[in-house]
């Protein structure tokens, strides 16, 4: 009798655990919660959390547990340990996060060895998705905006000459390469390339901009990391009177990151950017997203392209969980994501089945003053943009 009760209890326990296992999906998140990237980590983190909150019904009956790890810095080493421990200690089913490209690059061998789906929510160096077969990117590559803008600058803005200023680290060089290739391919000429210091501390941009101003280009293409760099760029552009000198400041949307835009004020007016997202995009999903964001995080808070990377990344993860009914096999998960389509706040997006990178719209926007705030007015749109680096197999994206 006693034996049977014990056996029944054990069986019941075993059932509950296996049921619980089926219910719970563990997602290991690595983000720089402290240090210079803390602000970005918060945006991506909030994007993920907001998706889960708004779409609680889509998640049920499964439970998604986020296990968050601080990777502190772009150094790679901390990210490596974090990812390794998420895999070996926490036994996560899916990996997510990666603000910084070097961290994604450093983690690649571990992701490959760990054989888990890994969703990149920000890191933008083009070739990263080539470095592990389990990487899927829901953010962007530097080539998306850079390449599109090169063409747009020549065709839509009628620019003949350009000076490129970039932060001297891989995304900056990527951006330069992407812009230059398409701008010169469309008949323009890049007359100067200015590396503007490293990504660590915001430099005083005055000397670099002075140099650009002296060259008198039609457009000044600037890539700097979003955040403080961008704010300083816009200030310096205005303060040096480059607009009056007839030089248009253009760049990927990093320079008009939504979280910084209003603080830039009038100085930002006239900036022309190419990007896949800004909070002023006019589509129902985005309206809902921005409204929910403000409700959740305060009226002055605003989502931005980093937030949407986290949001869409979580949407992809939920899609995987639903498709696989909570039992996450990595190959199946990758299969489920290949060609996955989603109505994102940034418009329709999908995952390229070949490169596992995102396919999305790029919007050419101009910052204007509207109702006492800086508003990003869409003045052009390119549908279904793929990462041109991998499409054309250029440089580091070429298969080895």
């Amino acid at each position: 009798m006693m034996k049977r009760i014990v056996a029944a209890a054990v069986a019941a326990l075993a059932m509950t655990t296996s049921w619980a296992q089926a219910q719970e999906v563990k997602v290991g998140v690595n983000l720089p919660y402290t240090g210079i990237g803390a602000e970005f980590a918060q945006l991506v983190d909030r994007g993920m959390e907001l998706y889960l909150k708004l779409n609680a019904d889509k998640v049920r009956p499964y439970k998604i547990t986020l296990i968050k790890r601080d990777v502190k810095d772009p150094g790679g080493a901390n990210a490596k340990i974090a990812v390794q421990e998420l895999l070996t200690q926490d036994n996560v089913d899916i990996l997510a996060g990666w603000i910084y490209s070097p961290n994604a690059i450093a983690s690649a061998p571990i992701v490959t060895a760990g054989k888990k789906l890994a969703v990149i929510m920000n890191a933008g160096t083009a070739q990263i998705t080539n470095m592990s077969p389990y990487y899927v990117r829901t953010s962007f590559s530097m080539w998306h905006a850079g390449y599109a803008l090169g063409e747009a600058a020549a065709k839509l803005l009628n620019a003949k000459t350009a000076v490129v200023g970039y932060t001297d680290f891989p995304p900056g060089k990527d951006s330069l390469a992407a812009f230059k290739r398409s701008f010169e391919g469309t008949g323009g000429k890049v007359i100067d390339e200015i590396p503007m210091g490293g990504a660590g501390a915001v430099p005083d941009f005055t000397p670099f901009f002075q140099r650009a101003k002296d060259k008198k280009p039609d457009v000044f293409f600037v890539f700097v990391p979003a955040g403080d760099h961008a704010a300083a760029v816009v200030k310096t552009y205005a303060a040096l009177g480059m607009r009056d000198a007839g030089i248009k400041l253009i760049g990927p949307g990093d320079i008009t990151q939504d979280t910084k835009l209003q603080a830039m004020g009038a100085a930002a007016v006239g900036l022309i950017t190419m990007h896949h997202y800004h909070a002023d995009l006019d589509n129902p999903e985005n309206k809902r997203f921005v409204e929910a964001w403000k409700k959740e995080y305060g009226a002055t808070a605003t989502p931005d392209f980093m937030a949407v990377g986290g949001y869409d990344g979580m949407a992809a993860i939920v899609h995987v969980v639903q498709t696989l009914k909570g039992k996450i096999g990595t190959e199946q998960a990758l299969e489920a994501l290949k060609g996955w389509k989603f109505a994102s706040p940034r418009g329709p997006i999908s995952i390229d089945p070949v490169t596992r990178d995102i396919v999305m719209n790029e919007y050419l926007s101009e910052a204007v003053m509207k109702d006492g705030r800086v508003f990003q007015k869409v003045i052009g749109k390119i549908d279904g943009v793929k990462d041109a680096c991998k499409e054309q197999k250029i440089g580091p994206c070429a298969p080895k």
């Binding site: 590396p195 660590g200 501390a201 005055t206 000397p207 303060a239 009177g241």
Partner: protein, 291 residues
């Protein structure tokens, strides 16, 4: 003519950057020279002061100048308290303990600001009249840079007068040169330290606020520019107001010129330059010869 404009714009840009370096670093130089205290938390005071200024403008609608005064006073008062309570215990400790203590303090400052206010950059909007361009006759230039240069000159002049002409200035000079002698002359060293420390931190706060236009303002400010401040202090010579001033201008202008003409070199030049300068004159360009 073109050449002249070029030179003028370079000088203006470089000197303005140098002024910010000077305003922040001067306090560090004097406290390090006077107390022999390796205060790595100095950048933290600049950061806290910058925040006090930015937040006072944002939430209380204070004007730029009143906010700067407010930032100076608040930071000076807070640092005076810290100096009495904690720093004073470590004056006789080894350099290493001082480094450890002040790094710990910086960590706490950064973490506190991140927790209380957030990790993001704190915008500091300049008054409209300081924005834009100003016509200087031979060239147009950024108004704020010109203003900074004027402010910097006023400050260095004031400091020089204060150092050379006031009782407390004379005491500080005496104590920098020979602390034991100063003590035997009946100078109240403890009080002198507190005043100097508070004043130096207040200056850092001013620098944090005035320089936010160029350097931004976020919790990491406390560490990310520290190397630059230390370079200025080392090159200028410990405890020398005019030395720090010239060093800041030198570094500011050279950095500017090199960045403009050889941007590919990154910051390598400034490090190489510092190494050469310090090997040539280990006590700093303007420092007293070590005894």
């Amino acid at each position: 003519m073109i050449f002249g404009i070029d030179i003028a714009s370079m000088l203006l840009g470089g000197v303005a950057a140098g002024m910010v370096l000077f305003i922040v670093s001067v306090g560090l130089s004097v406290t390090m020279g006077l107390m022999g205290f390796v205060n790595l938390a100095h950048g933290g005071f600049a950061m806290l002061g910058g925040y006090a200024i930015a937040l006072a403008m944002k939430h209380w609608g204070l004007g730029f100048v009143p906010a700067l005064v407010f930032g100076f006073v608040v930071t000076a008062a807070a640092s005076a308290m810290l100096e009495r309570l904690l720093y004073a215990r470590l004056y006789r400790a080894s350099e290493l303990d001082q480094v450890l203590f002040t790094i710990g303090l910086v960590f706490m400052m950064i973490a506190s600001v991140t927790l209380l206010i957030g990790p993001e950059n704190q915008p500091l909007a300049l008054p409209t009249m300081l924005q834009g361009q100003i016509n200087l006759g031979i060239t147009q230039y950024r108004t704020y840079s010109v203003v900074l240069i004027v402010v910097g000159i006023v400050i260095v002049g004031g400091l020089w007068l204060g150092f050379e002409r006031t009782q407390i200035g004379a005491q500080i000079r005496a104590a920098v040169d020979n602390r034991r002698m100063a003590e035997s002359l009946g100078i109240n060293i403890a009080r002198l330290f507190t005043i100097t420390f508070a004043f130096g931190s207040g200056m850092a706060a001013l620098g944090g606020g005035l320089g936010a236009e160029f350097l931004g303002l976020d919790p990491q400010y406390a560490l990310k520019y520290l190397v630059y401040f230390l370079i200025v202090v080392a090159v200028g010579g410990l405890g020398r107001v005019t030395g720090v001033f010239y060093a800041a201008l030198l570094i500011g202008v050279l950095d500017f010129v090199l960045k403009k003409y050889v941007p590919q070199g990154g910051t390598a030049f400034i490090y190489a330059l510092t190494i050469l300068l310090l090997l040539w004159r280990p006590q700093g360009l303007f420092g007293a010869k070590a005894t």
